[in-house]
C-alpha cells in the first residue's frame, strides 16, 4: 500500500478517459454524466412546480409546463433511473467483487457508454426543440409531433442498446469471470442483484426499442397499428410500452436492494440474514416484474381477466420485495452497529421503500386502480421508489467511497445532508400521495381548487431536498480535494473489492485475490 503505486486514476487528460476501456473509469464517467442529467431533471421538476404556482392559464405557460414535465420525466427515467446503479457502481465494483480484471467485453462496455452519451445528446436536442410528449410518448398523440418526436425515438433506441449491452456484459462477467475458488455463495448480494437486473436489461429492453421504432414507422409510413385513423389500436402501443416500463422500475430497484443488503450486513457486523432467500427473491422479482405489466392498463379498457392476472402477480412481487426489507431488519437486529453515512442513507432507503411499494400495490388493487391510476398518487408511488433508489445509490457511494477515491469523507456532515435530503423528499412526495388519493390528476396544468396547498408544500420540500443534495455533492468534492487518506478496508468487509489496493490499480488485482473462505480457515 505504498503511496507510489499507480492506480486507475493515475493517467490524466480527457483522451485517456474517453479512450479508456477500464470499467472503473467508465463507471466514473457514467456517474458524473448521470449526476448532471439528474440535476438538470431536478431543476426542470422544481421549475414545473413553480410554474404551477404562478399559473396564469396562458397557452404559452401550458407549453412551458409540458416541456418541463417532459424534460423531467425523460431525463430522470431514461438517463438516470434506467442505467443508474448498474452503470455506475456496478461497472466499478462488479469485476472487483468477482476478482476479475475487468468486465467480459471492455470495449463493448465503452461503446455502451458512448451510446448512453449519444442518447443524452439526442434527448437534449429533442427537449430543446420543444418536446411535450413526456417519457411515455403515447400514441396517437405522439404521431402528430415532428422533429422532437423523431429525436426522442432515436434517443430511446440508443439508450436501449446501451442498456442491453451492459446487461449482456454483466451476465457474461458474472457467469464466466469469477476468480478461481470464488463460490456462488461467496458472491455479495450486490453481484446477485446485478445479475437479476441484467435479465430485465437483456429481455425487456428490446421491446422498448421495438415499440419506439414501430411508433416512428407508424408516423413515417402509416403502418396502421397504433393510429386509430388508420384502423390501429392505441392500446397496443401501451401494452408494448409497459412490458418494458414496469420491469424497468425493478431494473433500478434490484441493484438498490443488493447494495442495502450488503451495507446493512457490513455495518452491523453480521452476515446477511437469509442470504439464499434474498438471492432467490431477486430472481423472482426480476421474472414477476416482466410478467406484471398489465397492471398499468386495468382502467384503460383491457380485459378483466388480463388485469386480474397481472395485478395479482404484482401483489406476489410486492410480498417478495418485503421479504428483502424484513431480512435487512433481521440483519440489523442485535448487530454491532457502525453508525456512518453509508448506514444512515441505507436506513432512509429502508424507510422509503415500503411506502413506495405499498402505494404501488394499492394501484394493483383493482377497485382502487380506477380511483388512483390517473392521479398524482401513481406519481407519488414512483417518486418514493426512485427516491429510495437515490438513497441506495448514495449509500453505495458512501460505502465504497474510500475504495473508489482513496479518501475519507466527513461522515457527520454527510449524515446531516442526508437527513436534509430525506426530509425534503418526503415533504415533496407525501403531498403527492395525499392529493392523488383525493383525486388530483397527474400531469395537470389547470389549477384545481383546494389543491393549491399541496403544491406549495411540494415546492418547499423540493427546495429542501435540493439543498440536501447540494450538500452531499459539495462534501464529495471536498473529500476529493482534501480528504484524509482512507484505509484499505475501513468497515471490515469481507468481499473481494476490499482486498484490492486503494484506489484499485487499473487491472484491479496484480495477483489472483485470496479467497474469503481461505482466509477464514487460516
Amino acid at each position: 500500500m505504498s503511496e507510489n503505486t499507480s492506480n486507475y486514476l493515475s493517467e490524466s487528460g480527457a483522451a485517456s478517459w474517453l479512450k479508456s476501456v477500464d470499467s472503473k473509469r467508465i463507471a466514473l464517467m457514467y456517474l458524473v454524466g448521470m449526476g448532471v442529467a439528474a440535476v438538470l431533471a431536478l431543476i426542470a421538476g422544481i421549475g414545473l412546480r413553480l410554474d404551477l404556482l404562478t399559473n396564469d392559464a396562458m397557452v404559452e405557460g401550458q407549453q412551458t409546463f409540458f416541456q418541463a414535465l417532459s424534460f423531467h420525466s425523460f431525463f430522470m427515467i431514461f438517463l438516470f433511473m434506467v442505467p443508474a446503479i448498474p452503470a455506475s457502481l456496478g461497472n466499478f465494483f462488479l469485476p472487483l467483487q468477482l476478482g476479475a480484471s475487468n468486465v467480459a467485453f471492455p470495449r463493448l462496455n465503452r461503446l455502451s457508454f458512448y451510446f448512453w452519451f449519444a442518447g443524452l445528446l439526442l434527448a437534449f436536442l429533442s427537449m430543446h426543440a420543444g418536446n411535450i410528449l413526456r417519457w411515455t410518448a403515447l400514441a396517437p398523440a405522439s404521431l402528430t409531433e415532428g422533429f422532437p418526436f423523431v429525436m426522442m425515438v432515436f434517443a430511446v433506441i440508443t439508450l436501449g442498446v446501451s442498456v442491453i449491452i451492459t446487461g449482456i456484459n454483466f451476465t457474461v462477467t458474472i457467469q464466466l469471470h469469477r476468480a478461481q475458488g470464488l463460490a456462488w455463495s461467496d458472491l455479495p448480494l450486490f453481484a446477485w442483484s446485478l445479475q437479476a437486473a441484467a435479465i430485465i436489461q437483456i429481455f425487456a429492453t428490446p421491446l422498448l426499442g421495438g415499440a419506439f421504432a414501430l411508433l416512428l414507422l407508424e408516423k413515417m409510413m402509416g403502418l396502421g397499428l397504433f393510429d386509430p385513423a388508420l384502423g390501429g389500436d392505441a392500446l397496443l402501443y401501451q401494452q408494448l410500452f409497459w412490458f418494458f416500463a414496469r420491469p424497468a422500475l425493478f431494473m433500478a430497484l434490484l441493484p438498490a436492494f443488493g447494495i442495502i443488503g450488503d451495507t446493512v450486513s457490513v455495518m452491523s457486523r453480521r452476515p446477511v440474514f437469509g442470504y439464499t432467500g434474498q438471492v432467490v427473491s431477486f430472481f423472482a422479482i426480476s421474472f414477476l416484474s416482466i410478467l406484471s405489466w398489465g397492471g398499468h392498463l386495468t382502467s384503460s379498457g383491457q380485459s378483466i381477466a388480463a388485469s386480474t392476472m397481472t395485478s395479482f402477480l404484482f401483489m406476489i412481487l410486492v410480498a417478495i420485495c418485503f421479504n428483502c426489507i424484513l431480512s435487512w431488519l433481521a440483519t440489523l437486529y442485535k448487530g454491532s452497529i457502525q453508525l456512518n453515512a453509508a448506514l444512515v442513507f441505507s436506513l432512509f432507503a429502508i424507510i422509503m421503500f415500503p411506502v413506495g411499494l405499498l402505494a404501488a400495490a394499492a394501484l394493483n388493487i383493482m377497485s382502487l386502480n380506477s380511483q388512483l391510476s390517473g392521479s398524482l398518487f401513481a406519481v407519488g408511488s414512483n417518486h418514493y421508489l426512485l427516491g429510495a433508489v437515490l438513497f441506495s445509490l448514495l449509500a453505495g457511494l458512501y460505502y465504497w467511497w474510500p475504495k473508489m477515491s482513496g479518501k475519507q469523507i466527513n461522515e457527520n456532515l454527510s449524515m446531516l445532508a442526508g437527513l436534509t435530503l430525506f426530509i425534503g423528499l418526503n415533504i415533496t412526495f407525501l403531498p403527492q400521495l395525499i392529493a392523488g388519493a383525493r383525486g388530483l390528476p397527474r400531469g395537470h396544468y389547470q389549477v384545481i381548487e383546494g389543491m393549491a396547498a399541496s403544491q406549495v408544500v411540494s415546492v418547499i420540500g423540493g427546495i429542501i431536498a435540493v439543498a440536501g443534495l447540494i450538500g452531499v455533492i459539495v462534501l464529495f468534492i471536498m473529500s476529493v480535494k482534501k480528504g484524509a487518506r482512507a484505509e484499505d478496508n475501513p468497515w471490515g468487509a469481507s468481499s473481494l473489492e476490499w482486498k484490492a489496493t486503494t484506489p484499485p490499480q487499473t487491472e484491479n488485482f496484480s495477483e489472483p485475490p485470496a479467497m474469503h473462505t481461505a482466509e477464514a480457515s487460516s
Binding site: 392505441a234 437469509g274 388493487i365
Partner: protein, 304 residues
C-alpha cells in the same frame, strides 16, 4: 369545499363509494402500520446496537429461510385479501344496472362532449340524483382518461373503442371531472329530479327561442316531411304544401274538403283515409305532439 370532506379520498357522493372506500381505508391502515413498524424497528435496532460489540449466535440458513417464507406468506395473504376485496369491487364497478340512464361521451384534447338523447352538452355533464348513469365513452383524437373522484369513477377513453363506466350519484352538487391525459377538464352537475327534468326540457326543447313558424319549419324538416312534400310548388311523392292551407282539396274518393287545421291533424294521424286526388295512399302516420302540430300548422299557414 364541503364540510364533510375527509383528508384522504375526495368527497363521497356516489353509492359506488362503498365498493372503494372500505378497501382503501383498510389498506391505508395496514400500510401505515407496516411502514411505522418497519421504520421504528430500523431506528431502534440501530440505536440499540450502536458501537457495542454484541455477539449473537446465527441461526441456521434453513431456519432463516423458513422465517423468510413465513413473513413473505403472511404479507402475501394480507395483500391477497385486499386484492380479492378490490376485485369484487372492481367487478361491481364494471357492470352498470339495466335501469341506468345511458349517455354518450366524446373526449377530445380541447373539450368533453356529453351526448343526450336530444342533443349534446359540451363541458358539463348534468345528471339527476339517485339514478344510475352509464357512460359510453370514446375519444375523437388521443388516449384520454376520465376521472370523477367524488363518484369514484376512473376509466380510459380510447379512440376506436367504446369503454363503459357508471356511477350512482346520491348527492346534489357540483363535482370535478378531470381528463387524466392533462387535457381540458369538465364539470359534473348533479340536480334534483325536478331540476333535471326542467333542465332537459329547456336545454333540448327546440321550440325555445323560436316563433311558431320557425319551430314549424324545424318540425317539417326534422320529421322528414320534405322528402315527399315540397314547399316550392313542385310535385314529389305527395302534393306540394305551397298555398295548401285553407284551400279546397279534391280527394281520391271524388269528395272535396277544406284544408283547415282539423284536416291537417287528421292527415297526420290517419293519412290514408282522405288521400288527395291523383296520389297513392303511401304516407305513414305521424302522431306528433300537440305543440308540434300547432307549430306545423302555423308554418303551413305562412306558405301562402
Amino acid at each position: 369545499m364541503n364540510a364533510n370532506n375527509s383528508f384522504w379520498l375526495a368527497e363521497k357522493a356516489s353509492s359506488l363509494a362503498t365498493y372503494v372506500d372500505g378497501t382503501f381505508y383498510g389498506y391505508l391502515g395496514f400500510s401505515l402500520v407496516l411502514v411505522v413498524i418497519i421504520s421504528l424497528l430500523t431506528i431502534f435496532f440501530v440505536i440499540k446496537g450502536r458501537n457495542q460489540a454484541q455477539t449473537i449466535s446465527e441461526s441456521s440458513p434453513c431456519k432463516q429461510a423458513m422465517i423468510q417464507t413465513g413473513w413473505t406468506a403472511l404479507i402475501l395473504i394480507v395483500l391477497a385479501g385486499f386484492f380479492c376485496y378490490g376485485l369484487r369491487g372492481f367487478i361491481k364497478l364494471q357492470v352498470p344496472p339495466n335501469t341506468a340512464l345511458v349517455l354518450g361521451v366524446t373526449a377530445t384534447s380541447a373539450a368533453w362532449q356529453f351526448h343526450y338523447l336530444d342533443g349534446t352538452s359540451p363541458d358539463s355533464l348534468i345528471v339527476p340524483v339517485n339514478l344510475p348513469v352509464k357512460l359510453e365513452m370514446s375519444s375523437a383524437d388521443n388516449v384520454h382518461g376520465i376521472s370523477i373522484p367524488s363518484m369514484r369513477v376512473g376509466k380510459g377513453v380510447v379512440p376506436n373503442r367504446k369503454t363503459v363506466t357508471w356511477f350512482n350519484p346520491n348527492k346534489e352538487g357540483l363535482f370535478a371531472i378531470y381528463n387524466t391525459s392533462g387535457a381540458a377538464d369538465a364539470v359534473l352537475k348533479v340536480l334534483s329530479e325536478e331540476d333535471y327534468a326542467h333542465w332537459i326540457k329547456v336545454k333540448f326543447d327546440p321550440s325555445i327561442g323560436k316563433t311558431p313558424e320557425e319551430y314549424g319549419l324545424y318540425v317539417y324538416e326534422k320529421q322528414g316531411c320534405n322528402a315527399c312534400h315540397s314547399v316550392d310548388g313542385s310535385k314529389i311523392v305527395g302534393p306540394t304544401l305551397k298555398g295548401f292551407f285553407g284551400t279546397e282539396r279534391a280527394l281520391d274518393s271524388a269528395e272535396a274538403v277544406i284544408a283547415d287545421s282539423a284536416y291537417v291533424v287528421r292527415s297526420l294521424l290517419e293519412p290514408n283515409v282522405e288521400v288527395a286526388a291523383g296520389f297513392k295512399p303511401t304516407m305513414l302516420a305521424y302522431p306528433l305532439k300537440a305543440k308540434e302540430m300547432n307549430a306545423l300548422i302555423a308554418y303551413l299557414k305562412s306558405l301562402q
